[in-house]
Symmetry: C2
Subunit: 344 residues, 2 copies
């Protein structure tokens, strides 16, 4: 409750009886300042509750030690987990993370790019690779390096992720090996979301390879909530002959589907099998536990941080790092009913 104004370097310098240069040095390279002076300065800093102004600092030093991340939504356990380790890795390098969200909207993503660029982000983490050329062009123009995560991208750019399509295909192959022929899918919204689109394509390709016509694989897109998953499940379960397995684009949709199945009086996996994708904690808590694809989020966040740091330092980097996924077999995938299902 002393003086109310925000203290500046000048205030500290005056209080400590030194020049602003010395105060600055105390903060940035303390060993260049002799101990007694330094102690006096630090006491003044403490006493005044001084915190360096980021703007001034960035302006003068031309660096910010800041990296930004733009994720589709915070409302999603999956990105949260990956970001957490991304941030941890970053802070080991003394970098601060700024998080923004795009709401799955490319225009908003672009806005956030400008916000983060304006705030001096030295580099950016983006999710996936589906975005207008103009957005990436913008970053290149400003010389801001960026890495895409959660998938492996296309021709150019830097990526840390996994092959969503291949992983989904492998899971579908396993489903088919269980004897299923009447597959259905609850996909995430594929618009500007390469992860969702790739997973769907993976399932489709495996089905086609097994001689299942594309028209015989109903796909419903659903947003990222239990409710949407349940609603989609309702649609699919109305189809005759009923699908014997529903493959879901992510675990949240899968759990919503499980709930709907229960409501409909369908036993999982006896009456209908269900699979997920991501292996979030939730997958191990539902009953039966969810058969899904494990994505090592922490490892991905970590690797993304390493890659971005290297890009910022202009050190040599691999263009893409593939994180292996694994199919986790639990209880929701079984053989199809042999009675031919509920005929229509």
């Amino acid at each position: 409750m002393t003086d109310t104004a925000k203290p500046t370097l000048d205030d500290v310098a005056r209080a400590a009886g030194v020049s602003t240069a010395t105060v600055s040095r105390c903060l940035n390279s303390p060993d260049q300042v002799i101990a007694p002076t330094r102690i006096r300065v630090m006491q003044a800093v403490e006493a005044l509750g001084y915190t360096p102004d980021f703007g001034g600092r960035a302006l003068a030093s031309r660096r910010t030690n800041t990296v930004g991340a733009i994720i589709p939504t915070m409302d999603n356990a999956i990105f949260a987990r990956g970001l957490q380790s991304f941030q941890e890795a970053l802070s080991r390098f003394g970098k601060t993370l700024l998080v923004a969200s795009s709401n799955y909207d490319p225009a908003r993503e672009r806005e956030q790019m400008e916000v983060l660029a304006g705030r001096g982000a030295d580099g950016l983490l983006l999710i996936g690779s589906a975005r207008p050329e103009s957005s990436t062009e913008y970053l290149r123009r400003r010389g801001i390096p960026f890495v895409g995560a959660w998938n492996l991208g296309g021709e150019d750019g830097y990526f840390v992720g996994f092959d969503n399509r291949a992983a989904a295909a492998r899971l579908a192959e396993m489903v088919i090996a269980h004897g299923h022929r009447r597959l259905a899918m609850i996909a995430g919204i594929s618009f500007m979301n390469d992860r969702a689109a790739d997973r769907t394509e993976g399932v489709r390709s495996a089905a086609e390879a097994a001689g299942i016509a594309r028209a015989d694989l109903p796909v419903v897109e659903a947003a990222y909530t239990f409710e949407d998953g349940a609603r989609a499940m309702g649609e699919l379960m109305a189809i005759r002959p009923r699908p014997t397995v529903v493959m879901c684009g992510n675990d949240v949709l899968a759990v919503g589907a499980m709930q709907k199945a229960r409501e409909l009086g369908l036993k999982v996996p006896d009456d209908v099998s269900i699979t997920g994708f991501d292996d979030i904690d939730l997958a191990g808590v539902v009953d039966p536990k969810l058969t899904t694809v494990r994505v090592p989020h922490r490892r991905m966040g970590q690797a993304a941080a390493d890659m971005l740091i290297k890009l910022i330092k202009k050190e040599p980097v691999e263009r893409r790092i593939e994180i292996p996924t694994a199919i986790i077999e639990r209880g929701t995938l079984g053989p199809p009913r042999t009675d031919g299902g509920a005929g229509g």
Copy 2:
């Protein structure tokens, strides 16, 4: 791939053949600039890929239109939900949100306060009220207004939240009204977490009021994961005579407890009742659905934004806004077993 350096106001001015002042005006108060000039300038902005530098801008204008939020963890659906609406409300006022996390560590929270203060946050959203005096003192010294959310705080300060203690007590009263006498609790970690502590106290006070000795109400603290909830449930279910109901500090712990109950072959609610707190989406998906306390996160985030904006504008504000909670009765709370339970 033209020139690589980050364009400045000067570059734009030169490209458009005007002064920097005019460019600045185009960006900040376009109506002060005549149309032809403005168009020429905006084209130059576009062509160069110019984005104003936040540091320079903040320095010169002495405002940032930024507010910060420090939450315990991003790894928690509950804060994510509230933050989302906080952010939405903020952006309607043209403010940008900077999010930081403290990991439930007061020292780290303090660090983040300094980071956000340095970055020019005009105001701060904090969670709860349990923090060292020195932290709030720091903010006051810098003249940074802040509001606490998720609880109602103490003597002074501004808060948007609810009475965790009273809500937990009401739920406990309902539990007792169902006939339960052998209560147990899985509490969140109470260290520097007033929400967790208050909820525990609420249950305890209701139990005492019903003549249940404090010693007869076992409480196990557990961190915020399904696993921790399950582990705690294991401990509680080993007690003889076995508790007939386990009240949990949040829904995540409750779902972990449900899973453990299933593993132990205990039916919910026949063998043991379970209650949660928060009413996250998950609560409606488990089987049976979770009896819990609904907390209107979106409303809270919204109200917090309104309050903070007013504080920043130095408009008059109520010191605390209480958001009502509601008990949601679903399937996990039933009467206790009448056979006297599994005796020891």
